[in-house]
Symmetry: C2
Amino acid sequence: MVKVLAVDTFGTVTDWHTGVSTVLAEQFPTVDASQLANDWRDTYAPALEQIESGARQWTLLDDLHRESLDALLRDSYDITATSTQLDTAVHAWHVIPGWPDAADGIRRLTSKFVVSALSNGNVALLAEMAKHNGFDWDFLGGADLWRHYKPSPEVYLGIARLMQVEPSDVLMVATHAWDLDAARACGLRTAYIERPREWGPVHKDETPNPLDDFRATGFDDLADQLGC
Amino acid sequence: MVKVLAVDTFGTVTDWHTGVSTVLAEQFPTVDASQLANDWRDTYAPALEQIESGARQWTLLDDLHRESLDALLRDSYDITATSTQLDTAVHAWHVIPGWPDAADGIRRLTSKFVVSALSNGNVALLAEMAKHNGFDWDFLGGADLWRHYKPSPEVYLGIARLMQVEPSDVLMVATHAWDLDAARACGLRTAYIERPREWGPVHKDETPNPLDDFRATGFDDLADQLGC
């Protein structure tokens, strides 16, 4: 029996491509902001891997975002960003707009489950994102609680331990196969949310995985399937 | 400028005396349940002090509660409790009723501030308490996040760090002078909530402390004073 929902944030409940590319277009009007947003997002996994491999000490996502955008603009776009431009762009990740079904769906799910964000964002970022979008989370599972980033097992096992349940009592909800695969390896159940527009105009592979316990078109659909 | 409210739970937003003594009366009908509830609560500070002094390893409040009730009943009431009786009594702390002003007041305060529980209860206990009472917390600051109990500085400084603010941006809200004194020593601001019936029929000293930034009769009054 599922007791706790652990829900990814970037892409799963929020439309980072739209939110981030809008701010990038304002700050860097000469570039293709949609492309820059995707290029920036591509630096994400390697940056986290540096931490989890032990090559680098624990660093907050905000700081990783800032460094990687600075380097990307310099190396690939021949732009030297000002400190204010970088701060503004980094802050865009705190106030990404939610997908239209997210806020209402989360609220419905809280009627039956403990519903926690489980994100590589930090707690303060998640608090701001929640206020901005009306996400009625029961808990904010930020990476700084464990000083580990998904897909590290510490995160998935950490939320089960904090909620005092077995891993199999937790349903990991995400639109990324790598996140669900890692959760499943820790004994959690998994729900895939389809977000075909996550990368804006760029095609996203959303091949169904039969190992997922649920597959939904949004949080309204997930709430229906879970009887909320 | 206050940005974050860190709010104590047992006594401050919930009426533990009523909640716990009601369950004790059901489980142990031969005893004075009001007295037993207060006796049990008196074991709380010494139990936490054992952890913070280093005399004992980190232990969840649920386990401390269970041990102390078991010993108290045996030593002072000549009762050997069953495992089920102990479990039921320990669980009473998860579903303590809120004071009448708490749920609405918390909701009003979230319109302007990040409002976090900051409790010696653990995260799972706080999640259950919040569901039970409709407490619309932005975050659940449970002691297991830091593996320290208030009044340890790690807890007060820990919530400021998680929220990425200065200690002076945090307003600690409690009905206990010891909690506010410790928060103030860490640089937090303080608000005292009057709860004259916290210990049921037993008189509670609520002498005003001029060092507190706010003093309120409840969360409705606090929300008024903070312009929410």
